[in-house]
Structure formats: structure tokens, C-alpha cells
């Protein structure tokens, strides 16, 4: 958010009361007084999060029909269905802030809304289903576990529900990677290739480095977030390095090394130019994802119309005849 954006004048007394509630760890609920900036930040963050769940269905949906066996196909279908559910949980949370879901969906279709850039990368092989579950859902869990303690009640509650479900996503992905990594040399190479392509975009999922993250200070101050982007990224790396080693895959970072003192796995520089390029719409699949979303929305129009028509007919049948 540019610093020049005009901040609404808030009543200092109410603001102080609000911040005291945050400091006491109280949950902020939809009808409570809140600063306009808090509401705006939440709408921005929650709607982007909801859009990410929805767009996140596309890269994996691409492989449902080509899953290698029925067990994998059922798991992937269930996972993708969960992502739709997660999108709905968070849209429902966003609506408690007085925004209409229809408005948000429209912003996504218009291309004016943002969603997680990770979904603008292509899924080229079956191993990408493993890498996404393991890394992308793994990173999401690190982020969402923190958000489950967010100060805004409806957001926190949606996150609790989502975290419970996402562990299945991560494990099914890691199982795919484990199976491929212990398979033929070609299968292992396929797993390594997927890790090579998804590793850096997964680290970028945590957002810009703290010093370049314009929203972080405010989100931390109001306890929407409790950890900074860089802290969460480090936690994810620390968790994941051992998992890669355990299945004999190599993290594609020559600078990766363990720091005995901090007990952190220190990693090499992230290509932030690439990050901003994809955020601004020039990733490998930005256009394709939006086109697919619009097509699905348009092709689903008859379902929405039919449901409305059926409901109207039923209502007429139930209404006592005027005659």
C-alpha cells in the first residue's frame, strides 16, 4: 500500500480502546468497532487468500484425469475439492466485513484482484502434484498455523478449519515424492526436477522480505500476523530440508548451509525480480489461469440460473394460490 494513501481520521479514544483489546489478546468480531485501515487490510488479505484457494485448484485440476492410479486420483480429487471449500470458508469470513462475495469474485475475474503467485507456474509432470502438496501446501500450513491466531475472529476460525484439512494435502504430496524418489532413475529424476522448479517459488510464497513488505508492520501491530514473512520463510526451510534429505532429494540451492548457532538452515538469495514480475502479471501462466477461471464461471452460468429458476418455481408452488 503506498504511504501516500490517505488514512481516515479515527477517533483516538476508540483507536486506543481497540489497540488495548488487541494487546489483551481479545478476538475482534464482525460488529465490533475497528479502524477503517484494519478492515481494509483484512479485506485485502482475506480476499487474496480466498482467491488463491480458488485459483489453486487449476494447476492440480490439470492432472486429475492423468493420475497414475485410482488411489492417487481419488486423493487428488478430494484435495482439489478441499481447496474449493477453503476458498468458500475465507470468502464467508470476508463477507463478515461487509463485502459481498459477488464483488470479490468479480474482481478476480476482472484481473484486478491478486492471488498467490505460486499458481502462475505450470504443472508439467505428475511429480508436480507431489511437489505442490509437499511444498506449496507445506508453506501454506506454516503461514496458516500463524493466522489461526489472528486477531480477527472469523479469519482465525476459518484458518483452524483449513489447517486441520491441509495436513492431508501435505502428506499426500510427500507420499507421491517419496514413491517417485525411491522408484526408477527416471522417476527419481522427475521428482528432483519438480523440486528444482517449485523450491524457489515456494519460498517466495511468504511474500517480500520484511524490509520490502509495505503491509507487514501494520499487520503485526494489529496481530493479524504474529510472525514476519522472513521468520515464516525460515521456519519452512528448516522444516523442509530434513524431509528432502530423508527421501534422497537435493534442495536446489548451492548456498544452503546449517548455522549451528542459530540452528537455522541459511539459504541463498531469492530472485525478487522474478517474484515481482509474476506478481505484476507476467508469470508463465497468469493469463491462462484467469482465462480458465472465466471460462469455468461462464460455463457454470446455466447451473446458477437453473438453481434460481427451480427455487422460484418451488416458492410459487408453496405459496397459497391467489385465485
Amino acid at each position: 500500500m503506498p504511504a501516500s494513501e490517505q488514512r481516515p481520521q479515527e477517533d483516538p479514544k476508540r483507536l486506543a480502546e481497540f489497540e488495548a483489546r488487541i494487546a489483551r489478546g481479545e478476538s475482534i468480531e464482525p460488529k465490533d468497532w475497528m479502524p477503517e485501515r484494519y478492515r481494509k487490510q483484512l479485506v485485502r488479505m482475506m480476499s487474496q487468500h480466498a482467491h488463491s484457494e480458488v485459483v489453486g485448484m487449476l494447476p492440480e485440476g490439470n492432472w486429475i484425469t492423468r493420475a497414475p492410479n485410482l488411489r492417487r486420483k481419488m486423493a487428488l480429487l478430494a484435495k482439489v475439492q478441499d481447496e474449493a471449500g477453503h476458498g468458500l470458508y475465507i470468502y464467508c469470513g470476508t463477507e463478515t466485513l461487509g463485502v459481498d462475495r459477488q464483488e470479490l469474485v468479480q474482481q478476480l475475474l476482472d484481473g484486478t484482484a491478486k492471488y498467490s503467485s505460486i499458481f502462475n507456474y505450470p504443472t508439467l509432470t505428475w511429480a508436480d502434484m507431489g511437489a505442490i502438496g509437499w511444498l506449496v501446501d507445506g508453506a501454506a500450513i506454516v503461514n496458516q498455523t500463524m493466522l489461526a491466531k489472528a486477531s480477527y475472529g472469523p479469519y482465525a476460525r476459518a484458518m483452524v478449519r483449513i489447517c486441520k484439512e491441509e495436513n492431508f494435502h501435505k502428506r499426500q504430496g510427500f507420499e507421491i515424492m517419496t514413491t517417485l524418489a525411491s522408484g526408477t532413475p527416471e522417476q527419481k529424476a522427475m521428482a528432483q526436477d519438480a523440486l528444482d522448479r517449485w523450491w524457489w517459488p515456494s519460498l517466495m510464497m511468504f511474500g517480500p522480505s520484511d524490509k520490502d513488505s509495505p503491509n507487514s508492520a501494520e499487520l503485526l501491530k494489529w496481530r493479524v500476523k504474529q510472525k514476519s514473512n522472513d521468520e515464516l520463510r525460515q521456519r519452512f526451510v528448516n522444516l523442509t530440508v530434513a524431509q528432502a534429505k530423508a527421501i534422497g532429494l537435493e534442495i536446489p540451492d548451492p548456498d544452503l548451509q546449517y548455522n549451528e548457532e542459530t540452528e537455522d538452515w541459511e539459504f541463498g538469495p531469492i530472485d525478487w525480480d522474478e517474484f515481482w514480475r509474476v506478481v505484476k502479471g507476467d508469470g508463465p501462466c497468469n493469463r491462462e489461469r484467469l482465462a480458465a477461471r472465466r471460462q469455468a464461471h461462464d460455463e457454470g452460468a446455466w447451473v446458477r440460473e437453473a438453481a434460481s429458476a427451480y427455487a422460484a418455481k418451488r416458492a410459487d408452488e408453496r405459496a397459497p394460490s391467489a385465485a
Binding site: 464482525p30 461487509g98 459481498d100 438453481a307
Partner: protein, 104 residues
Amino acid sequence: MANDSRGNGASGDSQWPLWEVFTQPPNGAPHEHAGSVHAVDAEHALQNARDVYARRNEAVSIWVVPSSVITASTPEDMGPFFDPANDKPYRHPQFYKVPRGIRM
């Protein structure tokens, strides 16, 4: 006061009216608010609620209620509305002294 800040649009490419969803877990606990869904009518709301909030046998029963008919207390009233309870510590067991050494 009704949940009047929430969307309830029903026109054109509509997202349909909003329903609040309450689910009861199988262990005998009471129904609890799970979230909301948009739906054309009650039957549709129940089906959507099942698909969104009960994909893993979390519920043995679901209630759906149009969001617009819920009456709720408001944060502004919170003090005076709840204060009859404030000066009645004798409603809590800790108010009563028990001789040392006796387990209750």
C-alpha cells in the same frame, strides 16, 4: 439487531441469499456455528452446507438459518446488557469456603 452488514444480493449473476450454518459433531456436543453459505433456498443451503462444512464426517446434524433473520446482541450494548451478572460472584463455586483438607 439483525446481521445487516452482510450481503444478501439476489439479482442477476447472483450469489444468492446468505445462510448461517450450524453443525453438530458426533460426540453429543451442541450445534456450533461453522460458517455460512449462499443458496437459493433452505434445501439448497443444506446441501451446500454438507459439501462445505461436513466433508469428513464432522457432523451428524446441520442447521441452516437465513442470516437476515438472526437477532444478535450488539457490542455497544455489551456493558449494560450483561452487567446483571457482574456483581454476583456467589453464582460461582469459588465464592464458598471449604475447610482445609476436605476434597469436594
